[in-house]
Structures are given as C-alpha cells and as structure tokens.
Amino acid sequence: MKQISRRGVLLGSLAVPMLGMGRMAWAQAGEVTISHYFTGELGLKAFNEQVAKFTEATGIAMKESPVGHEDFKTDILVRAAGNSLPDVFSYWAGARVQFIVDSNALHPIDEMWAANGLDAVIAKPVADSATLYNGKRYLVPFNYHYAGMFYNVKVLADAGMTAPPATWDEFLALCETLKGKGVAPIALGSKNRWPAQFWFDYLLLRTAGPDYRAKLMAGEAKYSDPEVAATLAMWKDLFDKGCFVENANADDWTDASDKVARGEAAMTLMGTWITGYWNGNGLVPGQDYDFFEFPKVKDGVPNAVVGPVDGLVIAGNAANMEGAEKFLTFMVSDSGVQAAWANAQGALSANVNVDPASYNVVMQKAAATVAAAEAFAFNYDLATPPPVAEVGLSMFTRFIDDPSQAEAILTQVAADAEAAFKT
C-alpha cells in the first residue's frame, strides 16, 4: 500500500479549507450560470422549460440557482459582496437596477441590443423606462406586471356590480354595499410589507399625479408635503370605514388572495402574478376572477398604471459574457418563449411579436389597460432607492397597524427618508 507522506498530509490539510476561498459556483466550460427568483408560485417549472428551449437551440448549458423571491434580495447582495455573482441574474427594473449600475456591477448590453435589433422587439415604453440607466442599456425585460383591483366575480355580482367603479365615490359605494352583505370589501396581506405599497402608489398617483410621485421617489419632494398627507388621509378613510380585512399585517399576499378566492373578501389590489397563482389553484379567468382599474380620484390627473418589470441582467464580471448575451437575447426575442413564460407566470410580455390572443381573457384586458394608460410607473420599492424604500415599506405597515397615527408617522418618515436619501 502506498504510504501517505507527511508533506502530503500537511498540504492536504491546508488545501481543504482553501477550497472554501474559491467562487461558490463552479461552472463547467461553456456553461452560463444564472440565479433567479422564479420559484414556487412564481413559476420554477415554467422557467426551467424556457431555459431548456434555450439549451436546445444553442447547445449552451445553464447552471441554475433559484432562490425564493424574498430571500433573493439578500442572496444576490451576498453573492455580489463575495465577488461571486452569477453570469446572469433576474432583477427588478427601476431603482434597484440603478443602484447596481451606479455600483459598476453590471455589464452594459447596448452592443448586444443593437446587434440583435431589440428596438424592433421590445415595446418602446417598457424599453425606455426599464432598460436605460445612465444613458446605457443594462437589462432586458423578461416580463412585466400590472397591479389592478382583482376581484371575485361571484361576490361582486352578488353585490349588484354591473360595471366596475370608475370614480372614487362609486368605489366607496361598492365597499358600503359589500359591507352590508357581510363581505369584507378589500383583502390586504401586508405581512411582507410590499403588498401595501400599491395602495400608497395608486392613491398618490391618482391625487398628486405621476410627476409629483416621480419627484417624491427621487428625493426632490418631501414626505412632509401636503400631497403625501392627503394620500394617507384617503387611505385612512378606507380603514375608518372598515373597508379592509382585519389584521392585514398578519397575512401575506397569498393569504389575501385566498380570502378573495374563497369569497371572504371581495377584492385585492395586487399584481397580475395573482392570475398565475389563482390559475394554479384551479380558478378560471374571467369566470371566477377578473379585475378593474384603480378608480379615478381627481379630474385632470393623468391615468397612470403601476407594476414591476422582471428583467435579466449580466454581471459586470461574468465569466461567460458571450453565452450570457446569447441567453438574454434568446429569452426576450423568442416569441414562443415569451408567450409561454408570460402565460405560465401570469405576466405580460414586452415582446411586441407576442400575440395578445395567446393571453387569457383577464390578461388580454390587463395588456389593453397598460397600453391605454398615460404613464407606467414602477411600484414604490422599485421606484425609490433601496434605503428609502425600507423606510417607506415600514411606514405602510405601521400606518396599517394604527391609521390614526398618520400624522406622527409622516413626521418620522420625512426625517428618516431625508437621511436615507443622503446615504
């Protein structure tokens, strides 16, 4: 038997821990590494199917590491901090991508964009708002969502709704009718904070308008402004009238969706991903559920819609840059991939070649609503820098816990947000 030398043992003992110093993901030659948050109810199976199409078409293997939606926000930062970002990762367009671009951690894709004629593929409003940062393109929109008032068709029919409420007064009247029938008008699951943001977004957009909101998100307006106070006052009025389910901070968004599906609540203000969740639970679009636009509140204010854009980006130090660019191009250009992915996930495609007829009836309506809108705004936590978003998201849950404290909450938030903008 071969003797193990002392030197060998010593070297071995030192080498084993040294292995931990290497990059976390060991990609085979030619592979493209990717990390994403399309897991569980957000469509891991469908994502893998689209990735398989890419591998089949190009022969390039993908090494995946999916991470749950909430944990992804931390995970990707940990990987960046450890200098072990994957070649490609999913990310939310808006302030979060801006933050990474400002940190020089992303690869610009202008050449790839031009070489593959993506101007002719991606809808211009989405391309302009989601892909350009500091004058360069960094992201391809993999899909996008729209936040609307999703409701249980039977419950609202029982409440006598023949047409969606177009004005705030009509909306309040509908809530009163529902309460009279013993149904909670609005379900909200703000345990993870972000579902509350759509209420703030829409109330602010419908009263102060998209321009003011953009200023607030950029730190050019203040949370102590009367526009913000008016927004919270309207929101408080809904709580005072008993329009929301009790203990919204105890539920997450799926709990709120389930309450609507079961008919315990009538509607919930949520993104189109709720359609993917409901479809997966056997609900029929248009028959069991539908949506209406957030009602108009004030005349003369442009009609804005809110939603996130899920994008794919390439790390600045990607090991397989060529493969990564091929992957981004394929995933956004292939209309078959885009249609299948959008349908599976309950999302809309930014690819203009995707036939709207491939969507279900509810998503067709959502696509038409976005197309008819005068402005598309990213939801709160994607519209303002992450340190400020943290301040605001906590504000929403604190407000929901005790709306009577609105004034004190805004005073505190105004100071905290101002400090956060300076970091």
Binding site: L10, S13, V16, N104, A105, A250, P386, P387, D401, T423
Partner: protein, 293 residues
C-alpha cells in the same frame, strides 16, 4: 521523538486552524475593516469614513429600539428556559408516573431546527385559524383574539415564548444530570432535621445545582446571542422593526438597505457586547470552579 510529536501536532492542528482562520477570524477582521468604510456590497470602489458609522449608531433610533429588544430577549432567554427547565427537572426527578416519557417529550423541541420551531409557532399564533386564537375563541369568544405576531406589543414576546419552549428541554436535561449528583442521604438528613421542602430546595438543592446553573445560563446566553434564525422566520424583525434585535437590525441595514459598512459597524458593537458578556461568564465560571472544583 519530541520533534516528531511536535511535527504531528502542527499537522493535525493545521486543518482546524485553517478552517477557524478562514471561517471565523477572516470574517471577523473583515467586519472591523468594513465598519470603517461606506461599502454598499455591490461596488468594489468604496471610501474610508473613519468612525462615521459608529457615530451614526449613536443617533440611530432603530438601533436603540433593537438594543432594548436585545436586552429583553437576552434576559427573557436566560430567565424563562432556566426557571422552567429547573421546575421540570425537579418535577420529573421525583417519582412521577411516566417521567421517562415526559423527559423525552420535553427534550424533543431542542432536536428541531429553529426554522421548524418557528414555523410550528407561526401556525400556533396564526391570527385567523391558529391554535392559540382557536382556543381563545372557544373559551372567550372573538373578544380576545389577537394577531400575536403582527402587533408591535406582542411580536417580540411571542417569539420569546417559542424560543423558550425549545430551549427549556436543554436546561431540564442539564438540571436532571445535576440532581443525580446530589446525594440522597444528604436530603434525608435534612428531612430528619425538620427542614421543609422549600428549605431543602433553597438551602441545599439550589446551591448544589450551582455548577449546572452556570452551564445552563452560559448556554442560554450563547444561544440567545445566536438567536437570529427563529426571529427571522417568525417576524423578520417586524411589524415595523418592533421585534428587531441588534442582529436583525444589522441584517436589515446590510442586506435590505445595502449599507454594508454601517451593518459591519453594528456587528462590531454586537461583537463587543458578546465579548463583555462572555468575559463576565468566564469570571463567574472561575468563581464556581474555585468553590466546587
């Protein structure tokens, strides 16, 4: 021969020391280093800001809230498992029917991961259909139903109860071991001399359990300092930071606000607090060693 032994000592120590150096010392000193910077985690270019991050801590309202919560957490995490563990040990050390089964049952939670324990208690506390509110509703009606994890006045305490439920079994086992070391004839003599059960406990049993208490308290302190996972699972520091501990605050600042430099400064403060507590513990341990060693 001596040289031969020294060589093998070096060889055999190299691996664990290497692991310790890479996974403990390196991150520790990295934290010290980054606490003096404005690093955001993504940007390889960052600046040294001296002690600005530490100065910011002094005016950070959420840090103060987290520090108070950490103090509450630590005191409760020591007092509750220790007293409950002692009570259970005393109960099960006497000839209770089925004592062995109960010992196993009470010890079982410590075998579970904090994530599982957290999930179990999330279901217990669930506002609409959780076990606790179901029982409360059955007994009192809807009046006292409460969103235990979603309300700022109960969120932290709800997690502390879950934590204590898990840790009590460990304290119980250590006290049971301590009780077996107390001579039975000593207690018999006390009884013959007319000592009441309370006097026997207070004057004989409790002092003789001092070494066990030191171990239980030490483990409680160490475990409570590490007690991040169950809080993360159950409340994530919420609602609106009301159950933040220093570890959770450090996590939020670093990974949600992308303020890695500031988060590192909080971790340094947390490290110093932990060192102070461990220093106090070792001092106490030496005292007990002198008395009982």
């Amino acid at each position: 021969m001596e040289q031969h032994n020294r060589f093998w000592r070096v060889v055999l120590l190299a691996a664990p020391l290497g692991v310790f150096g890479i996974f403990v010392l390196w991150p520790l000193f990295s934290s010290f280093y980054y606490s003096l910077t404005d690093w955001n985690g993504f940007d390889p270019n960052y600046s040294f800001v001296g002690f600005d991050n530490f100065a910011k801590i002094a005016s950070d309202r959420l840090f103060l809230q987290a520090a108070i919560n950490t103090a509450i957490w630590m005191v409760a995490a020591i007092v509750l498992p220790t007293t409950l563990g002692l009570a259970l040990a005393l109960l099960l050390d006497s000839r209770v029917l089925g004592a062995r089964v109960f010992k196993s049952i009470f010890y079982l939670p410590i075998c579970l991961s904090a994530v599982i324990v957290g999930q179990i208690w999330i279901w217990i506390y669930q506002a609409d259909w959780g076990l606790l509110n179901t029982i409360i509703t059955e007994v009192t009606g809807e009046k006292y139903k409460y969103a235990w994890l979603a309300k700022p006045d109960t969120a932290l305490w709800s997690v502390i109860v879950a934590w204590s439920w898990q840790q009590t079994g460990l304290a119980m086992v250590i006290y049971l071991a301590g009780l077996t070391a107390i001579p039975g004839d000593l207690l018999e003599v006390c009884e013959i001399e007319g000592a009441t059960p309370w006097q026997r406990f207070r004057r004989v049993v409790l002092p003789l359990l001092a070494p066990s208490t030191v171990v239980v308290v030490a483990l409680s302190v160490i475990n409570s300092l590490k007690g991040f996972d169950i809080l993360y699972i159950m409340t994530g520091g919420g609602p609106f930071n009301s159950s933040d501990t220093l570890a959770m605050h450090m996590y939020n600042e670093s990974f949600k606000k992308y303020l890695m430099g500031y988060g590192a400064a909080i971790s340094v403060v947390l490290f110093l607090i932990a060192m102070a507590i461990i220093g106090l513990y070792f001092r106490q341990l030496r005292k007990v060693d002198r008395i009982y060693g």
